[in-house]
């Protein structure tokens, strides 16, 4: 992917940050008091920060969601009390684009699963940029099934451009793998809490996101197709991605309005990567509150509520159309 908008904007700020810290260092060693200059620069810095990041367009949020420094699934999972990773689909291979296993969340045993992209090029190649193959979705299904049998809540982290669109994935029936994930999450007799932490792209994201409670970070995106994909499908022109992003209603606020997202987790000014520890902590406590609340419900109540929730989604109206039937 060529150039991240947010990273580019941060370059200018980085320069300012360096000057402030230089001045601070000089101030500590030299007799001249420069605290008013430092304060002025800091005020300017805050002002620019607000101007640049105070309100983000949908397209800017797409770039924020793809920011290379944005916390990934493992940043959240490794902040849990304990994590024991489980591997493999038992059929073909272990897909590094999916991480999952048993964990403890404030003492409570859970199963956690997430899409995992890489933090650098080498890791991205190994993890296929967080785009799971069918083997990955079969691992997801297996872990969700174990969770349901053992009565452990399922906590998922959604962060993918979409399911892998390659030859091998088609040969191994990507459609079936995702379809059966959806089935498993529809029938799991335990609380499911899904959090969209980065990019939620299409069916490959939904495969981990049929849940009793869906959380979404403020600057994450979640859409029917990536903006590039949507532009290619509708207009055969991927360069119209920015236009697609503005039409798709893919921000946390839009999706909260539609009833698809239950809770928005706020991010610091400038995005989650500016204070990873705070964002991870805040997100995990929001997840924990949902898990606790849902754990009070019986499996039958959970399944009934989940069914009704997804049964309701969509907009249509009753309209008696003229007798149809074509030629």
């Amino acid at each position: 992917m060529s150039g991240n908008l947010i990273v580019e904007r941060e370059r200018g700020l980085l320069e300012l940050e360096r000057r402030i810290s230089e001045l601070r260092a000089a101030n500590a060693t030299q007799p001249v008091d420069m605290s008013s200059e430092i304060a002025a620069l800091e005020a300017k810095y805050q002002q620019i920060l607000h101007e640049v990041f105070g309100t983000l367009s949908p397209w800017e949020k797409v770039h924020m969601a793809r920011h290379p420094g944005r916390p990934t699934s493992l940043d959240y999972i490794s902040a849990l009390e304990r994590f024991d990773e489980l591997h493999g689909d038992r059929q073909f291979r272990d897909d590094p684009a999916i991480v999952g296993g048993f964990a403890l969340m404030s003492g409570r045993a859970i199963v956690t699963i997430g899409q995992q992209r890489g933090r650098d090029t080498k890791e991205n190649l190994r993890r296929n940029f967080g785009m799971p193959a069918p083997e990955g979705y079969r691992k997801v299904r297996r872990l969700a099934h174990v969770a349901s049998r053992l009565n452990l809540p399922i906590v998922t982290f959604v962060d993918t451009k979409g399911a892998d669109p390659g030859i091998s994935s088609e040969e191994h029936a990507q459609s079936e793998a995702i379809a059966m994930c959806l089935h498993e999450f529809s029938t799991a007799r335990v609380p499911i809490v899904a959090t969209v932490i980065g990019e939620g792209g299409s069916g490959g994201a939904l495969a981990l996101a049929i849940a009793d409670s869906v959380l979404m970070l403020e600057h994450s995106t979640y859409s029917v197709a990536s903006p590039e994909g949507c532009a290619a499908i509708l207009w055969s022109d991927a360069s119209k991605a920015e236009e697609a992003a503005s039409r798709l209603k893919l921000t946390a606020g839009d999706l909260h309005d539609f009833g698809i997202v239950d809770e928005i987790v706020p991010e610091p000014l400038g995005g989650a990567h500016r204070d990873v520890a705070a964002v991870v902590g805040r997100t995990l406590s929001a997840i924990e509150m949902s898990v606790t609340r849902l754990s009070a419900l019986s499996p039958e109540e959970l399944l009934e509520e989940r069914y009704r929730k997804y049964r309701r989604l969509g907009t249509w109206h009753a309209e008696r159309m003229e007798p149809i039937g074509g030629r």
């Binding site: 990507q174 949507c230 039937g325």
Partner: protein, 283 residues
């Protein structure tokens, strides 16, 4: 007694043979120029190269059900949740497709009989918005499965879809969750669910109910896959072989149960319905 819809009556009536008689059409596969009446009489299969033309939902239902067909969910009409507009507004696109295809949406659902078996039937139609799944498709299919569950009858869905409908955004994606929920309740009650994948079946439809069936049948040469051919070619930067993502390819890879020629389709479905009913079939 159910009321036979006008379109079905027209296809069953005396003048059915004269329908479209004036039109010629060209086989996209072998280039043969075909008399449309001959093509319709041959189940929309090219007599020269056996290419299976994409069928309208009306022709499909007419060719599959024994007699009557009682449509349900016909009055569920699409909204415009995103207020979508590009070259045209979404409502204008819908009106255009409605006029061209005679369909009110990309799926027709209802109840009828096949070989004497009561069945719930959903037939998608590629001629309406590329068979894409928006709220109405999801809603009608969920409604059909809920009603079929009450009546305890098998359900057969004919798929033909380019995937989720972009113009309804995430609400379109959520129809994958909605239809999955309905399929799950239906099958967990012990009911038989079968899909017939027709050309093309991709994206959000293939990754939900299409591949959740007890038995998955595909029509000869149908293109079936998750990602579209173009997307894959762009990703891997090379041309894909012709056979890739055909029904025959999926059969070889173990993704579907059988590939059936359209002429043999109804008999095949009836045999499958017999097994699903169970018991002693022959004394």
């Amino acid at each position: 007694m159910m009321q036979m819809p006008d379109w079905l009556r027209a296809r069953r009536g005396k003048d059915a043979e004269g329908r479209d008689a004036a039109l010629w059409t060209k086989c996209p596969k072998c280039g043969e120029v075909l008399y449309r009446r001959d093509l319709a009489a041959n189940a929309f299969v090219c007599p020269r190269c056996a290419h299976h033309f994409r069928m309208s939902a009306f022709d499909r239902i007419s060719s599959i059900v024994d007699g009557d067909f009682a449509e349900i969910g016909a009055d569920i009409a699409p909204g415009d949740p995103l207020g979508w507009s590009d070259k045209k507004s979404y409502p204008a696109k819908l009106r255009g497709d409605r006029e061209k295809s005679g369909l009110s949406e990309a799926v027709v659902c209802g109840f009828g009989q096949i070989g004497g078996f009561d069945v719930a039937l959903a037939v998608m139609d590629f001629h309406f918005r590329g068979g894409t799944m928006g709220t109405v498709v999801g809603e009608r299919i969920a409604l059909l499965l809920e009603e079929a569950r009450k009546r305890k009858v098998p359900c057969i869905v004919f798929t033909a879809s380019g995937g989720a409908r972009m113009e309804e955004g995430m609400l379109a994606l959520m129809q994958m969750a909605k239809t999955t929920a309905a399929v799950t309740r239906f099958t967990e009650d012990g009911n038989f669910f079968m899909t017939v994948l027709t050309d093309p079946t991709t994206g959000g439809v293939s990754a939900s109910f299409a591949f959740q069936a007890d038995v998955i049948v595909a029509e000869s040469r149908a293109m079936i896959g998750f990602a579209g051919r173009r997307v894959i070619e762009q990703t891997i930067r090379q041309k894909l072989p012709d056979q890739f993502q055909t029904a025959e390819f999926l059969l070889e890879k173990g993704a579907i149960d059988m590939v059936v020629d359209r002429h043999a389709l109804k008999d095949t479905l009836v045999r499958l319905l017999e097994y699903a009913r169970g018991g002693v079939l022959r004394a």
